[in-house]
């Protein structure tokens, strides 16, 4: 049976389910169990599962990540959360030198079965150190899995898959998705990593996206459809493992590829996907594959500057039009937006 949940509720349900099913699941992070409970995602867990399994922590990201690694070696399944990806820069020694390599470098015994939830900031002046996106970094490291859900349904299924995966998983939640709603089954389920979802199947061009940008792509594609342009939209859901097959299959049909990525251009996952397609599907391409990303500049605080920082549906539509040599009038799409450009909707009114 399903009901409509928002993204935070879906995450919360996945956590509660995991902790019920398995007494070895523990959950901690700065603010876990406080009145706001990580945007509600850890609501009620401390009360239900007790302070030994659900706890707040010192501002010591690096040690706490190592502690998660150690706990996992004895079979616990720690789920750690950071309210911003940026804070996790302090813990990369533990993530990369220990968690990612443990299984391999000790010859295949234990593994660091930890889940790291990272919340990505955007809008309302989050600025240069509260809205970074580092999924390209994580994807570069063998031993990590990197998951980027787009909707409440996937969030629940992918988070359960993450928690019960014996390897370290970086689970990235875009703050702007927290308010999104969808039908979510109340029974437990897991969504396998490495299975992209084709949200729309089209003939003219393939858009590959992840996380929040999938929504923008979807709006753009629907808008383009009304103008007779048929676009595929693929939501990767996980970037490591990466579902090459679904991408390749679609590009084989359309011959045209646009990759969206919520990160700086240089060294982006978008570049990786273009490289994969160019190397493996060269003959299938009708024209140069392209990407839309954030610029190679830190994310500024001023709303005057973020307007052009983040690719949005009208920009995507315009880009598709440009690639296809069609005039698509993206202004009409832009006009549909009823709230300021630096909030995801009415439910968000700052500051975090």
């Amino acid at each position: 049976m399903g009901r409509e949940l928002n993204f935070c509720e879906a995450v919360n349900e996945a956590l509660a389910t995991a902790m019920t099913v398995d007494p070895d699941v523990i959950c901690f992070g700065l603010g876990v169990g406080d009145p706001k409970n990580i945007f509600g995602t850890t609501l009620g867990l401390k009360e239900r599962f007790g302070p030994d399994r659900v706890f707040d922590m010192p501002t010591s990201e690096n040690a706490m990540t190592g502690i998660a690694v150690g706990a996992s070696l004895l079979g616990l399944r720690p789920v750690m959360v950071h309210q911003r990806t940026d804070f996790f820069l302090l813990a990369l020694d533990q993530l990369v030198n220990n968690a990612a390599k443990w299984h391999y470098m000790f010859g295949g015994g234990r593994a660091a079965g930890i889940t790291i939830r990272l919340i990505t900031g955007q809008g309302w002046g989050q600025g240069p150190t509260h809205s970074q996106n580092l999924h390209a970094w994580f994807a570069h490291i063998p031993g990590l899995k990197v998951v980027m859900p787009t909707n409440p349904y996937d969030a629940k299924g992918l988070l359960l898959a993450s928690i019960f995966d014996p390897n370290p998983v970086v689970f990235i939640e875009h703050r702007w998705l927290h308010g999104s709603r969808a039908q979510v089954p109340d029974s437990p389920y897991r969504i396998p990593f490495g299975q992209a979802k084709e949200l729309l199947a089209g003939q003219d061009l393939t858009i590959v996206a992840t996380s929040y940008l999938t929504l923008e792509a979807w709006h753009a594609a629907r808008f383009l459809r009304d103008q007779g342009i048929s676009v595929s939209v693929i939501d990767l859901r996980s970037i490591k493992p990466l579902d090459r097959e679904t991408i390749f299959r679609s590009v084989q049909t359309t011959g045209r590829l646009l990759v969206l990525d919520s990160a700086h251009l240089t060294g982006s996952v978008a570049g990786e996907i273009i490289a994969l397609v160019a190397s493996n599907l060269f003959a299938g391409l009708k024209q140069a594959p392209e990407r839309m990303t954030f610029p190679d500049a830190p994310s500024p605080a001023s709303p005057a500057l973020t307007r052009n920082y983040y690719p949005r549906a009208p920009d995507i539509a315009a880009k598709v039009g440009e690639m296809l040599g069609r005039d698509v009038n993206p202004g009409a799409l832009a006009a549909q937006c009823k709230f300021p450009h630096d909030v995801p909707g009415d439910w968000f009114n700052g500051p975090f």
Binding site: D34, K36, P58, T59, P300, P303, F352
Partner: protein, 335 residues
């Protein structure tokens, strides 16, 4: 240094100014035109004001996410602060940084950053440079009780002691990191200053309720730090009145003991100082009204300035990532 009436009045003026600025921000924040996360210092004015009065113009300061008070007390431009909150080109960081990234080089306010504890080593680096240049200035590092939990605090303190850097760590202990009390983050009965002392810093703990006592004690420690050129750590007990981030009160959430909140409301350092100075006739109520009017005017002016200022040009979004100057004479060669 003795806390003269002049100093006492200056402290009052600075604290009042900080409080009134922060309240003005809080009042206007809901308009939705200061679109950046903003951490107010209402209740915590005393440490900033005291340090502001003890630091020299060319001493240096770094701070954290909660930096408005430090910036203002060190002499940072109010106009540039408010413009920064509005995301304007005239902001102290030209709208790039927002409330969490303030700077005023002319005032010696070298920068505040929003990753907990990560300006701490930057402050020590300033100290290293001051020492190398045989400067008599010091670098003052503002941090919170949460920042002490980051390993980098400890690493920095170790190095500061090792190299006898002219730095003073000012730890504003307001008992909370966001909604998390010290009890979920640090062992019971820990004295932050004993911990700092064990690392090797000259350490002490003072309370901010009595601002004049605070001033005298901090002055003495600052003098020692300067003269002996030894790094120091001063824990100052204080209290944040409003929510961690944003303009509202949040005591309805019940994360702080009501008695604690009541205690600090009853012991507002600013009000106590003001009453004392009135009592002691250091200032009259007319003088006070004049002081407040002056501040109000300054605030009005700053908001008007901010509102009238232009936004950054969106086309400059990707500019300024790299600095361009090239000041050395070593020749360039081609391929």
């Amino acid at each position: 240094m003795e806390t003269t009436p002049e100093i006492a009045l200056a402290l009052l003026a600075q604290m009042k100014r900080i409080r009134m600025v922060e309240e003005a921000i809080a009042d206007r924040y809901p308009e939705g035109r200061m679109r950046c996360p903003t951490h107010l210092s209402i209740g915590q004015e005393a440490p900033a004001a005291v340090l502001g009065s003890l630091l020299r113009m060319d001493d240096l300061v770094v701070s954290s996410h909660r930096a408005h008070a430090h910036y203002l007390a060190k002499g940072g431009s109010l106009r540039a602060l408010i413009a920064e909150l509005y995301g304007k080109e005239t902001g102290c960081s030209r709208g790039r940084g927002g409330s969490m990234h303030l700077v005023d080089i002319d005032a010696g306010f070298m920068g505040s950053t929003a990753i907990v504890a990560n300006s701490i080593p930057v402050g020590a680096g300033l100290g290293l440079a001051l020492r190398m240049r045989h400067s008599e200035n010091i670098a003052c590092i503002f941090l919170g009780d949460g920042a002490v939990e980051e390993g980098v605090f400890y690493e920095t303190a170790n190095f500061a002691v090792l190299r006898r850097l002219p730095v003073v760590f000012i730890c504003e202990n307001n008992g909370y990191s966001v909604y998390s009390p010290l009890s979920v983050r640090q062992p019971e009965n820990r004295e932050l200053s004993s911990l700092a002392a064990a690392i090797g810093l000259r350490s002490g703990c003072v309370d901010s309720v009595d601002v004049l006592a605070l001033h005298a004690q901090v002055a003495e420690r600052m003098r020692a730090a300067r003269e002996e050129c030894l790094p120091a750590f001063i824990e100052i007990k204080t209290f944040r009145w409003r929510e961690h981030c944003g303009p509202n009160h949040d005591d309805d959430l019940g994360y702080r003991d009501a008695r604690l909140v009541d205690y600090w409301h009853a012991h507002d350092p600013l009000r106590l100082l003001q009453e004392r100075l009135l009592d002691e006739r250091c200032i009259t109520s007319v003088g006070l009204a004049t002081m407040e009017r002056g501040i109000r005017d300054e605030i009005e002016d700053a908001f008007r300035f901010a509102e009238d200022s232009p936004f950054p040009d969106p086309d400059t979004l990707a500019e300024g990532v790299y600095r361009a100057d090239d000041s050395v004479g070593i020749p360039w060669v081609g391929n």
